[in-house]
């Protein structure tokens, strides 16, 4: 089960990386970045997961063995943070893409801009 989860999350991350490299459209690159993020987040959650363990929430029944045996909560906290950061990056990127579109009228970074542009 672990192997499947790890493999799937890494495959998702690789799909994202492939998309970021192969796509030209800015929105599609951004979506690929989000796919990569999801893959990495799933990988992190998997790291703390265990089939027999419980949800890491302390309930009233603390004395019971089932309540003591819970999954590692740290990766979940990390993923929560990383999701929020991902949201922020996506928002900023979308706003910038919108500005870029209004300024230039297209949604791709022109190859000519990789070379020396004109004077500012």
């Amino acid at each position: 089960m672990f192997t499947i989860l790890y493999t799937l999350s890494l495959v998702l991350a690789l799909i994202g990386i492939f998309g970021m490299i192969s796509q030209k459209n800015l929105i599609k690159i951004l979506i690929s970045l989000n796919i990569l993020e999801t893959g990495v987040n799933l990988f992190l959650v998997t790291a703390g997961w265990s089939a027999e363990a419980n949800v890491p929430i302390i309930t009233g029944k603390l004395g019971l063995p089932s309540a003591v045996n819970f999954v590692d909560p740290l990766p979940q906290a990390l993923v929560l943070t990383s999701i929020v950061i991902g949201l922020g990056v996506t928002t900023v990127a979308l706003a910038l893409i919108l500005r870029y579109y209004r300024k230039t009228g297209n949604l791709t970074l022109e190859p000519s801009e990789f070379q020396s542009g004109g004077e500012r």
């Binding site: 970045l33 790291a47 990390l78």
Partner: protein, 485 residues
């Protein structure tokens, strides 16, 4: 004393929120807030550095390997003082009109960036480092785009995508490290990294390095450099060149005890650093746009820092710290003077600066001195860094790399002296010097460069303290995990 370390991160964040309430007020209030906060940071970190040295704050009272720690030791305090000094100069002297950190939105972002940079240096936790890195990244995306022209947006978008890719790879690496060692605390990691199998350790460290190399502008993570440096507002250029790359360099120095346990990884990184050095400096040699040229030169200098760390040993780390500091100071001078030239001639092409030494004699002198220091001419600060770097290379018998470094230094000298030569050519044009206030911070920084250049003894004690703190993992681990060992 404990609270000062936390204040270094909290105060700028607080100032950023405060600025919202003064959005309708005059500019000088914002500038006053920013200057006060950054000046406080500079003074208090210098006081801590000179008074006793090391300090560890366990946030929330959680003991080190479990909670997040802030570590202000002899190494990190040097760099906090350095970045606060530069942010102070930007806030105080560059804040008027030109650098666009004047309106409250840019001011708030600039303060968040300062907090994030200080946090990246002070934190002792790898995931916390990642969070601060993203905070710095998001603020810098927006600040670059504030330039408002086409290349600002292009640069910011490229930075977002390379930055997003690199930071996600870094997060994956952090995940693998946590999975295998069970800790995120950097000091704890230094002790436990040996337990991980070879290939997995390479993978994890390589992924973590992606994020750091992005900040250091090392090839292949520096595709965003030319456009961002061209399009960013002047204050942001200084931040990119002197603060963010400094933070990247610091992190690599901090991780040295972990890196040194992986000779294979070092063998892999060495060609990368050399390639980055050659490509960046050759690109700078061909460049006509002054800001892009300075950006390429930053990338080259940071590759030099990486080489110094890879050479290893006390001497290598000494060289790395020295070059990072010398680069941060000199690059800030060059950008301040460059902004002054741009304002005076209304052009960013250095070929049009012909004869500017007549209109702005001080500017021309400052530019030349900073350029000479970057190249490593004796009597300037950069010389001592390059000297100990070559010593480190000889000690570790990396003769091929030394040869390349020396050749590239000549290239660097040629393209900087070409600009200085242009400044001193005679020309009949009658341009007026504008925005001369930008020269004040440059004068201050050049005085520091020359002082250290002629009398390196005045900071070598502090740097040696930093070297000891960086070199031995045992010292850092003992500081952070004192009660465990």
């Amino acid at each position: 004393m404990n609270t000062y370390l936390t204040l270094l991160i909290i105060l700028p964040v607080f100032a950023a929120f405060l600025m919202y309430f003064f959005r309708k007020a005059d500019n000088w209030i914002n500038i006053a807030i920013m200057s006060f906060v950054t000046l406080f940071g500079t003074v208090s970190s210098l006081v801590m550095l000179f008074s006793q040295g090391s300090e560890v704050v366990a946030l929330g009272g959680w003991k080190p390997p479990y909670g997040i720690v802030l570590v202000g030791d002899r190494l990190s305090l040097i760099f906090v003082a350095l970045i606060y000094l530069i942010t102070y100069l930007i806030a105080q002297f560059g804040g008027i009109e030109r650098t666009k950190v004047n309106d409250h939105k840019s001011g708030a972002l600039f303060m968040l960036l300062t907090a994030a940079a200080a946090g990246m240096i002070l934190t002792g936790d790898l995931f916390n480092f990642f969070v601060f890195m993203e905070l710095a990244a998001i603020s810098s995306y927006v600040l670059i785009a504030k330039g408002g022209c086409r290349s600002s947006y292009t640069g910011a978008l490229k930075y977002i995508f390379t930055g997003g890719l690199a930071s996600m790879l870094m997060l994956l690496g952090i995940g693998i490290l946590y999975n295998t060692t069970g800790t995120l605390n950097i000091a704890h990691l230094m002790l436990r990294i040996g337990l991980v199998g070879d290939s997995l350790r390479w993978l994890a460290l390589g992924l973590v390095l992606c994020g750091i190399l992005l900040k250091m502008e090392v090839f292949p993570f520096n595709l965003w450099v030319p456009e961002s440096y061209k399009g960013a507002p002047a204050g942001m250029k200084i931040v990119l060149g002197s603060i963010l790359s400094t933070v990247g360099g610091y992190t690599l120095i901090r991780l040295y005890p972990i890196l040194i346990q992986n000779p294979g990884l070092i063998k892999m990184l060495l060609p990368l650093a050399l390639l980055s050095l050659i490509l960046a400096e050759l690109a700078a040699y061909r460049e006509k746009h002054i800001n892009r040229l300075l950006g390429y030169s930053s990338a080259g200098q940071m590759a030099l820092v990486m080489l110094a760390i890879l050479f290893g040993g006390r001497m290598g780390i000494y060289a790395a710290i020295f070059i990072v500091i010398a680069h941060a100071l000199a690059k800030a001078v060059l950008f301040f003077v460059g902004a002054h030239f741009k304002k005076s001639t209304d052009s960013s092409m250095w070929e049009s600066y012909r004869g500017l030494s007549k209109t702005s004699p001080i500017g021309a002198v400052l530019f030349t001195v900073a350029a000479l220091s970057l190249t490593g001419i004796p009597g300037m600060m950069g010389f001592w860094g390059k000297l100990s770097m070559i010593g480190a290379g000889l000690a570790s018998a990396k003769y091929f790399s030394i040869g390349i470094i020396l050749i590239i230094t000549i290239v660097e000298g040629v393209y900087f002296l070409r600009i200085s030569g242009t400044l001193y050519q005679s020309n009949e044009s009658d341009v007026k010097a504008k925005a001369s206030y930008l020269l004040i911070p440059a004068v201050i920084l050049v005085l520091i460069i020359v002082l250290i250049g002629f009398w390196p003894g005045c900071i070598s004690k502090i740097i040696n303290g930093g070297v000891s703190a960086a070199e031995r993992s045992s010292e850092y681990a003992k500081l952070v995990l004192d009660y465990l060992l």
